[in-house]
């Protein structure tokens, strides 16, 4: 007995050891199953995308990719594809993504403020308002193809019938209105997201602070701008980042509503552009290059979000 003690003393007790990792192994086994799926199905394709982005490869015309260095990148940024990529795709992406996020934020904020005043009816409104969130992009794409149809669609018919014929338009099929139409369609589905989060934030506001401002005689507008909004801003920033990230990933509705990128490629935002390059033109090398651009944008936003929200 004593001998054992001495041995264990001599072996471990002497050197001050650093063993802050005793649970490493068990914990790793909790993560391992996820890794077993994620590595082949995400990590490997991601690595492949990087590799592909340096290849010249049309999937239909040639069986094997050929290395062409940074030419794909060069083409998009300076070469013969740059007019399209920098002149159309990126501006369309920026307008769509920022436009939709901004519209949804403003509507969501306004509606949350209004709903917060109606304690009783709020529940019914919320239920009705949130339903579109559950619809698939494909359904929405077809549904709005039907609604926006210029001559016989219900939207234009209603506008004409109610004396607002001036407002009737070609919606998604006209160059001038294609982008706003896409933004409105997205807002129809996703404004509830902003609304719900902002409303939850409003309900969690420290009441005494808001009430103190009221007692201090601040007007409703002043209270909203100087007290409520600043208190909500952390939540709003997180919600906007979530929404932006989703919008960069957005294309299902567009794929249906704007079957070939919309009039004048108005809705060929970066993700849709990559899909068309790969799926319609079979330029897998170029599609991969666009994918890398998209990956960089979304990763920057995602890591900023995770840091900012202290999620990791």
């Amino acid at each position: 007995m004593d001998k054992q003690v001495l041995q264990s003393n001599g072996k471990k007790g002497e050197q001050g050891k650093k063993s802050g990792r005793r649970f490493e192994l068990p914990f790793f086994f909790f993560i391992l199953p996820s890794l077993l799926i994620i590595i082949p199905i995400v990590a490997f394709p991601t690595a492949w995308v990087f590799w592909l982005s340096f290849q010249n490869w049309n999937f239909l015309s040639s069986a094997t990719p050929t290395f062409n260095g940074v030419n794909n990148y060069g083409d998009f940024l300076f070469g013969y594809n740059s007019a399209e990529f920098l002149g159309k795709i990126l501006p369309a992406t920026a307008s769509f993504v920022i436009g939709a996020a901004a519209l949804e934020f403003l509507l969501g904020l306004g509606l949350a403020y209004l709903a917060d005043m109606h304690l009783k009816g709020e529940k019914y409104f919320r239920t009705a308002f949130v339903i579109p969130v559950f619809m698939s992009g494909i359904s929405i794409g077809f549904l709005y193809t039907y609604i926006y149809e210029p001559s016989n669609g219900i939207l234009n018919q209603t506008l004409r019938g109610s004396g607002l014929g001036l407002l009737a338009s070609n919606w998604h099929t006209a160059l001038s209105s294609a982008l706003p139409t896409a933004i409105i369609t997205d807002a129809w589905q996703w404004t509830p997201f902003m609304f719900l989060i902002i409303l939850a934030g409003m309900k969690a506001l420290p009441r005494p602070v808001v009430e103190a401002a009221e007692v201090d005689g601040a007007t409703a507008l002043y209270r909203f701008r100087r007290v409520i909004l600043p208190l909500l801003s952390p939540i709003i920033i997180i919600a906007l980042l979530f929404r932006l990230l989703d919008l960069f990933n957005y294309l299902t509705v567009l794929y249906i509503l704007y079957p070939s990128g919309g009039p004048g490629q108005a809705l060929e935002i970066i993700s849709y552009f990559a899909l068309l390059l790969g799926n319609r033109s079979f330029y897998l090398g170029q599609a991969a290059t666009i994918a890398v651009f998209l990956l960089i944008i979304t990763n920057v936003l995602a890591f900023y979000l995770i840091r900012r929200g202290k999620f990791a």
Binding site: L119, A291, L295
Partner: protein
């Protein structure tokens, strides 16, 4: 939390705005359901038809030999259930490890896992397509399940982390002092306690998997095509087969509507990935 009655006009005005937005949200769906009961001609009627004899033939066609929509519904069901089971199980395990343990690289690994929630499918879809062709996973339910779980495992991780963080650490520490191993603690103590959160997470995974388009579209061609993806086939070269399209849409919405009823109370938490408690 009663507040003093706001001025009447403001009250009515805001109520009107809310009602208008509520109606705008629901009306298109209502309009779609009506359309699914109309004939191809009635669908485009001028003025829009609200009163007509409902015609269920497009629904019966749907389940007839030509369209065979039940096949795609079954596919969707298998894929959505499989994906949510896989994602919630693995996501919860990872969430447990990340909330309870710190080890070398755990922080970076977690950041990476979380960020995968936002990885656009389009980034990996073409290499995945090539990979699936190589491994014979093309047009299989398993292939779609695995591909969907790549963003739903991270989703489950986000959400389950929030539920696990609500659980006092002392509970699992007590279990370990009481002699349970990590795995036993997870199975006997943690899992039963976060079961409600897992149900919510699974329901969200079901919805997202059911609705997912790009992966299901590129990685399937026939036997594993999902119900929403099948909708694209109603769009022909010339025209769209509207009556069947809409009845199929309505049918494919039913499972989502059931999930909606269940998830209503948990929407805020689910949609904000656990960032906001609703």
């Amino acid at each position: 939390m009663t507040r003093k009655t706001p001025r009447r006009i403001g009250w009515y005005l805001s109520a009107a705005v809310l009602v208008a937005f509520g109606v705008t949200s629901v009306f298109p769906i209502f309009w779609m359901i009506l359309a699914s009961l109309k004939s191809a001609i009635e669908i485009w009627n001028r003025p829009p038809l609200f009163i007509f004899t409902p015609n269920f033939s497009s629904y019966t066609d749907l389940f007839g030999p030509d369209i065979n929509y039940q096949k795609f519904l079954t596919n969707s069901l298998i894929i959505a259930v499989g994906t949510s089971a896989l994602s919630v199980t693995l996501g919860s395990m990872a969430a447990y490890a990340f909330t309870r343990g710190k080890f070398w690289g755990s922080k970076s690994l977690q950041m990476w896992f979380l960020s995968l929630k936002f990885l656009p499918s389009i980034v990996i879809i073409f290499p995945l397509f090539l990979e699936y062709r190589y491994f014979g996973l093309m047009d299989t339910q398993l292939g779609v399940i695995l591909a969907h779980s790549t963003f739903l495992i991270p989703f489950s991780l986000w959400l389950m982390k929030a539920y696990l963080q609500d659980l006092p650490r002392a509970i699992d520490e007590a279990a370990m002092v009481d002699g349970a191993s990590r795995l036993e603690t997870f199975r006997k103590i943690i899992l039963p306690l976060v079961a409600p959160g897992m149900a919510v997470t699974a329901a969200f995974c079901f919805v997202f998997s059911w609705n997912e388009f790009i992966i299901a579209y590129i990685l399937t061609s026939n036997s594993a095509v999902t119900a929403p993806t099948r909708l694209t086939q109603f769009r022909g070269l010339e025209a769209i087969d509207w009556p069947h399209l809409f009845s199929a849409e309505v049918v494919s919405l039913i499972p989502l509507f059931i999930m909606f009823l269940f998830l209503q109370r948990f929407l805020v938490r689910g949609l904000s990935l656990g960032a906001v408690k609703g």
